[in-house]
C-alpha cells in the first residue's frame, strides 16, 4: 500500500530540475541554507579571476590595515589584500578537495566493484591488502610524505597524495554494497533471463550505486578539506600557494592574534566553516530527496507536523 502513496521516483524524474529545486527550496530549509552558502563560495571562487593582484606578489598594498572600504577584509603583514587572497584560497582549497575526492573515490569504486564481482581468491587476497591499508594510520603517513615533498608539493600533487590515502575504507564499503546487490533477487532473475552481465551491472546496479557514491563522496570531500587544512596549518604544503590552510598558517606565523590583526585569522576560519557546513547541508538534503526510501520517511514526518 505504501508504494501507491509515495510519488513514484519515475514521476519525480520527469519533473523539470527547476521544479525539483523550487520544491526543495520551499520545503527543506537545510537545502536553502546550504545553497546560499555554496553560492557565496562559488562567487568568491569566480571573483579570483578579477583579482588585480597576483596572489604570490607581496607588499603590493600597505601592510596590517584593518578591514575598511578599500580593503573589505583588511590586509596582511606581507602587504597583500586579504579579500583577493581569500578568493584564491577558497578556489585552491576546492580544487584540492575536489581532485582528491575524484582520485580517491574512483580508485575505491573500481577496486570495490572489481573485488565485489570477481570474488574468490583474488577477492580475498586483495581484500586483505586493502585491510592492511585501513589498519595503517593515515594521518602520520600523510604528514611524513608531506614533510618530505613539502617544497615541491603543488596543488595537484597534494590532491593526489590525499586521494591516494583515502581509498581503502571506501573500497571496502563499495565491495559490501556490490556483494549485497549481487545477492538481490532481481539480479538473479536478470541473469536467468539472459541479460549479459555487463548490462546487468549498468542497468540494474548502477542506479543503486549512484546515490551511495554521491553520499560517500560527501564524506570524501569533508575528509579532503580537513586534510588540506590540517597539513597547511602545520606548514607541510607549498606555503606560496594561498589556500584556506596556508592563510591560517601565515596568520599564525605573523602572530596575527597577539598583534591584534584578528581579521587575518577570522576570514580563513569563518570561510572554511561556512563553506563546509553549507556543502554538507546542501548535499544531505539533496541525497535525502533523491533516495526514495528517505523521501517516503520525510513525507510521513512532514504530513504529521
Amino acid at each position: 500500500m505504501a508504494q501507491a502513496i509515495v510519488p513514484a521516483p519515475a514521476a519525480g524524474r520527469q519533473r523539470a530540475a527547476g521544479a525539483v529545486v523550487t520544491d526543495l527550496v520551499r520545503f527543506s530549509p537545510a537545502f536553502t541554507v546550504g545553497a546560499v552558502l555554496l553560492l557565496i563560495t562559488l562567487a568568491f571562487t569566480l571573483l579570483s579571476v578579477l583579482s588585480p593582484y597576483d596572489p604570490t606578489d607581496r607588499h603590493v598594498v600597505p601592510a596590517d590595515l584593518a578591514p575598511s572600504l578599500a580593503h573589505p577584509l583588511g590586509t596582511t603583514s606581507l602587504g597583500q589584500d586579504l579579500f583577493w587572497i581569500m578568493t584564491f584560497a577558497v578556489r585552491n582549497s576546492l580544487i584540492v578537495a575536489g581532485l582528491a575526492v575524484v582520485i580517491g573515490r574512483s580508485i575505491a569504486v573500481v577496486l570495490g566493484s572489481f573485488l565485489g564481482y570477481t570474488g574468490g581468491t583474488v577477492d580475498r587476497a586483495l581484500s586483505s591488502v586493502t585491510d592492511s591499508f585501513i589498519v595503517i594510520p593515515r594521518l602520520p603517513l600523510l604528514i611524513l610524505i608531506a614533510a618530505i615533498l613539502k617544497g615541491t608539493l603543488s596543488l595537484p600533487a597534494l590532491a593526489l597524495l590525499i586521494g591516494l590515502l583515502d581509498w581503502a575504507w571506501p573500497s571496502k564499503r563499495y565491495r559490501a554494497q556490490v556483494l549485497t546487490l549481487r545477492e538481490e533477487t532481481f539480479t538473479q532473475t536478470a541473469a536467468f533471463s539472459g541479460m549479459r552481465p555487463l548490462t546487468v551491472i549498468l542497468r540494474e546496479h548502477v542506479p543503486f550505486l549512484v546515490p551511495f557514491i554521491l553520499a560517500d563522496a560527501i564524506t570524501g570531500f569533508l575528509y579532503a578539506i580537513g586534510m588540506e587544512i590540517t597539513l597547511s596549518i602545520l606548514g607541510l604544503t607549498d606555503l606560496a600557494v594561498p589556500t584556506l590552510g596556508t592563510t591560517i598558517y601565515w596568520a599564525n606565523y605573523y602572530q596575527a592574534l597577539l598583534s591584534g590583526k584578528l581579521w587575518w585569522l577570522i576570514a580563513p576560519v569563518a570561510a572554511s566553516i561556512l563553506m563546509v557546513v553549507g556543502f554538507y547541508q546542501l548535499s544531505t538534503s539533496l541525497s535525502q530527496y533523491l533516495d526514495p526510501r528517505t523521501r517516503a520517511r520525510a513525507l510521513a514526518r512532514r504530513a504529521a507536523t
Binding site: 607581496r58 596549518i233 606560496a240 597577539l258 598583534s259 591584534g260
Partner: protein, 659 residues
C-alpha cells in the same frame, strides 16, 4: 697538528629545539557568530599585566627564591643526563650542571679560567699541552675534583666511539699523564696549537666526568648518569615525567664551584626551567611574571610583550632592542657546481641587484647589523676585521666591461639610521654609534652594474624584461629556506621579491627543517638562505671556521657534506684559500700572524664572493625584572646573556633578587 674544527657553526637557533607542532601552538578565531564577541575585545589586550603574584608554578618553591628560565623545548626523555651520547641537545642543563676547563665570553671575548687555574701551556712544537687545575673545586657529592677526573674523561671518551669528542680525542691524543693532583700533560699525535679549544667553551666544551661515578658504568654510551653528580653550582632536584619542567637547587657549597668562584655571587636558591611552547604562550607567561628570561621571540610577539609590560626588556632599552652579538651570520649560499652560480661575476651581479637597506628594514625590522664579511660585526671582532679592512673594502674593485667598479657602499648604516628615525625610533647620528647598531657597510644597490656584468657574460633580457641564460633558456632560480628560522626565511622572501623585480624568475621552496638541512648537505639547491660564520669562538683566529672549507674536505654533489664533516654546502674550491688555511694550521692562535692570515682569508672569501653574507644574528633575549635583576644589558655589557650557552652560567649566577 690538526686542530679542533668548528667551521660554520649552524648555531643553536630556536628551531633546533622547538618542535614544529609546538611552534604552531595554534590560535584561531571561531566562526562569524563569535567574531562579534572577539572584535569587541580586540582593542584592549585580553591578557592584562597582573601584579607580582603571578600564575602559580608547577612546583611548590618560593617564587621570590626561584629563577624561572624558558626551557626552550620539551624533553622527550627526562631521566638521562648522559650529555655525551648523540641525542637531542639539552641547552638549559649543561650550564647549570656541567663544567669544563676554560670559557671565552662571547660578548667581551674575555678568557675565563674555570676548572683550570691558568691558560694551557704548550711546548715549542705544540706536541704537548700542560693543564694545571684550580684547587678547592668539589663534585656535588663532596668528592674533590682532581686530575684523575680530567684524565679519566679523555680516556673514557677515546675508548667509546660514537660519543661527542670521542673521535676527536682518538685523532689528536697520543697519551695522557697525570703529574700530580692538579697537573695533567697531554702528548699529541701531531702539532696542534689549538688543541685546548676542545676544553674552551664557546657554546660548550668537553664536560668533565666524575671518575668515581662513571667508572662503575658498564657502557659509557648508554649510562644514564641520573641523578647527575655535577660540578655546576646547581644540583638536579626534580623533573616533570612529561618533560615540561626541571627544578635545580643551588648547592650549599656553591663557593666550591667555578661558577661561584668566577661570579662571586650566590645566585637564586632555585632554578626552574619551564617549557611554555610557542612565542604566544611565552608572551602570556612573561606578562603574568611566570617567566623571568626567554631565549627569543619573533618581532611581532616581542613588540606585543614590550608594549604591554613595563618590567620587560631585551638587550637595548630602546630600538633595536634585540641582542645582536651572537657569533653567527645570515648568508645566501650559491651552489657553485651548477651554472650560472659557478661564475663569480654572476654572484657579484646578484649581490649588486639586492638593496640590503630595504631587506634589513622592511623584512627584518631594522634590528640587525649588516656585514659584507662572513664574520659578524660583533664587538670582539669588529675591531679586528670590519674597521681595519674598511679601507681595503673601499678600494675593492671588480672588472665591469673593462673599467674597475668599486662596489662598496659605506653609508648603508646612515640610510638604515634615517629609516629608523622616520619610523619614530631615536637613533644617534654619530658614525661610531651607527656602526655599533647597523654594521659598517655593504655593497651598493646597483642593478645597472649588475645588468652590465650579466650581459658581459652572455646573458640577454627577453622582450618582457626577464633574464635569459647564455644558452637562451629563461633564468629560473629556486631558493630553499626553512620557515621556522624566521630571519633567514624573511630574507629569502625579500631576495625573491628584489631578484624578481630585477628580472629573474625566482621561487622560494619553504622546507621542513630536516629536509632543508639534507638538501644543503647533498647540494640539491640553486641558492640557500642559511646561516653560519667563520668565527665560532670570540677569538680573532678563524682557523676553526676556515679549515672545513679546505678543498680536501670537498664533497661532490649527491654525497653528504656531513660524511666529510665539512659545511661547504656551496661546494667551492679555492686554491688561494687552501694555501692560507695550510699556513694558518701551523700558526698558534695567539701569534699575530694568525690574525694577518685570517684577514687574508676573509679578503679572498669576499673578493671571490664564495658566499653572500647579509646580516648578523639577533635574538630577543628578553628578561622580566619583576623578581630578578642583574642580567647583562647593552649599558653594562660585562658578559654574554645567552643563558642556554654553557658560558651563560655566569650570567645566571650573577642574577640578584629584585627589590
Amino acid at each position: 697538528m690538526s686542530e679542533p674544527r668548528d667551521g660554520i657553526r649552524p648555531g643553536l637557533t630556536r628551531r633546533d629545539f622547538v618542535g614544529r607542532g609546538v611552534a604552531l601552538g595554534g590560535l584561531l578565531i571561531p566562526g562569524t557568530s563569535l567574531a562579534a564577541f572577539l572584535s569587541a575585545c580586540e582593542s584592549g589586550h585580553p591578557v592584562q599585566e597582573t601584579a607580582r603574584t603571578s600564575a602559580q608554578l608547577p612546583v611548590n618553591v618560593p617564587r621570590d627564591k626561584t629563577l624561572v628560565i624558558d626551557q626552550i623545548f620539551r624533553y622527550s626523555v627526562t631521566k638521562n643526563f648522559n650529555m655525551y651520547s648523540p641525542t637531542t641537545p639539552s641547552p638549559t642543563r649543561h650550564g647549570l650542571v656541567m663544567d669544563t676547563l676554560w670559557y671565552i665570553d662571547q660578548q667581551t671575548g674575555q678568557w675565563i679560567n674555570a676548572l683550570a687555574s691558568d691558560k694551557p701551556a704548550y711546548n715549542a712544537d705544540f706536541t704537548q699541552m700542560t693543564v694545571t687545575l684550580r684547587s678547592g673545586v668539589a663534585w656535588s657529592d663532596g668528592v674533590p675534583f682532581s686530575a684523575d677526573d680530567l684524565a679519566f674523561t679523555v680516556q673514557t671518551l677515546m675508548a667509546s666511539p660514537g660519543l661527542i669528542w670521542s673521535s676527536d680525542m682518538q685523532v689528536n691524543v697520543k697519551g695522557i699523564a697525570k703529574q700530580d693532583e692538579r697537573t695533567v700533560v697531554f702528548t699529541l699525535k701531531k702539532p696542534n696549537p689549538r688543541f685546548h679549544l676542545y676544553f674552551t667553551s664557546a657554546y660548550n666544551a668537553m664536560y668533565m666526568m666524575a671518575k668515581h661515578v662513571w667508572e662503575k658504568a658498564a657502557d659509557p654510551r648508554t649510562f644514564p648518569n641520573f641523578p647527575p653528580v655535577s660540578l655546576g653550582a646547581y644540583t638536579f632536584q626534580d623533573v616533570d615525567p612529561n618533560g615540561y619542567w626541571e627544578l635545580y637547587k643551588r648547592r650549599d657549597d656553591w663557593q666550591k664551584t667555578t661558577a661561584g668562584m668566577v661570579a662571586q655571587n650566590p645566585g637564586p636558591d632555585y632554578v626552574l626551567t619551564l617549557f611554555y611552547g610557542d612565542d604566544q604562550h611565552k608572551v602570556i607567561a612573561m606578562k603574568q611574571h611566570a617567566l623571568d628570561v626567554l631565549i627569543d621571540l619573533n618581532t611581532e610577539a616581542f613588540q606585543t610583550l614590550r608594549k604591554g609590560t613595563s618590567s620587560v626588556s631585551s638587550w637595548y632599552n630602546d630600538f633595536p632592542w634585540a641582542y645582536p652579538n651572537e657569533l653567527n651570520v645570515r648568508f645566501f649560499g650559491f651552489n657553485q657546481t651548477r651554472a650560472p652560480y659557478d661564475n663569480r661575476d654572476v654572484r657579484w651581479a646578484l649581490a649588486l641587484a639586492l638593496d640590503l637597506v630595504s631587506l634589513q628594514t622592511n623584512y627584518e625590522g631594522g634590528v640587525t647589523r649588516v656585514t659584507p664579511f662572513q664574520v659578524p660585526a660583533v664587538p670582539s671582532l669588529i675591531g679586528k676585521y670590519h674597521l681595519p679592512l674598511e679601507s681595503w673594502l673601499q678600494q675593492l674593485s671588480i672588472d665591469v666591461d673593462g673599467q674597475a667598479y668599486k662596489p662598496y657602499d659605506a653609508d648603508v648604516p646612515k640610510r638604515i639610521g634615517s629609516w629608523a628615525k622616520a619610523s619614530g625610533h631615536n637613533v644617534s647620528d654619530s658614525i661610531s654609534q651607527l656602526h655599533q647598531l647597523f654594521g659598517i657597510g655593504w655593497w651598493k644597490h646597483a642593478p645597472d652594474m649588475a645588468t652590465k656584468l650579466l650581459t658581459k657574460n652572455g646573458f640577454k633580457k627577453d622582450g618582457s624584461g626577464k633574464w635569459q641564460l647564455p644558452d637562451g633558456k629563461p633564468w629560473a632560480m629556486t631558493i630553499i629556506a626553512a620557515p621556522d628560522e624566521a630571519d633567514a626565511y624573511r630574507l629569502a622572501l625579500g631576495a625573491q621579491d628584489q631578484w624578481k623585480k630585477f628580472g629573474i624568475d625566482v621561487t622560494v621552496q619553504s622546507l621542513e627543517r630536516d629536509p632543508f638541512n639534507q638538501r644543503q648537505y647533498v647540494g640539491d639547491f640553486d641558492v640557500t638562505s642559511t646561516w653560519g660564520a667563520l668565527a665560532p669562538t670570540a677569538i680573532a683566529d678563524l682557523w676553526q671556521g676556515l679549515n672545513p672549507f679546505h678543498s680536501r674536505y670537498f664533497a661532490p654533489i649527491g654525497q653528504s657534506t656531513q660524511a666529510q664533516g665539512s659545511n661547504n654546502w656551496m661546494r667551492f674550491r679555492s686554491p688561494e684559500l687552501d694555501r692560507v688555511i695550510d699556513q694558518l694550521t701551523g700558526t698558534s692562535p695567539d701569534n699575530a700572524a694568525a690574525l694577518d692570515l685570517s684577514q687574508q682569508a676573509v679578503k679572498i672569501w669576499t673578493e671571490q664572493m664564495l658566499t653572500l653574507p647579509t646580516v648578523s644574528f639577533k635574538k630577543f633575549v628578553t628578561t622580566d625584572s619583576t623578581w630578578w635583576t642583574g642580567w647583562p644589558k647593552s649599558d653594562h655589557a660585562d658578559r654574554q646573556p645567552l643563558y642556554w650557552f654553557m658560558g651563560g652560567r655566569f650570567a645566571v649566577q650573577k642574577v640578584v633578587p629584585a627589590k
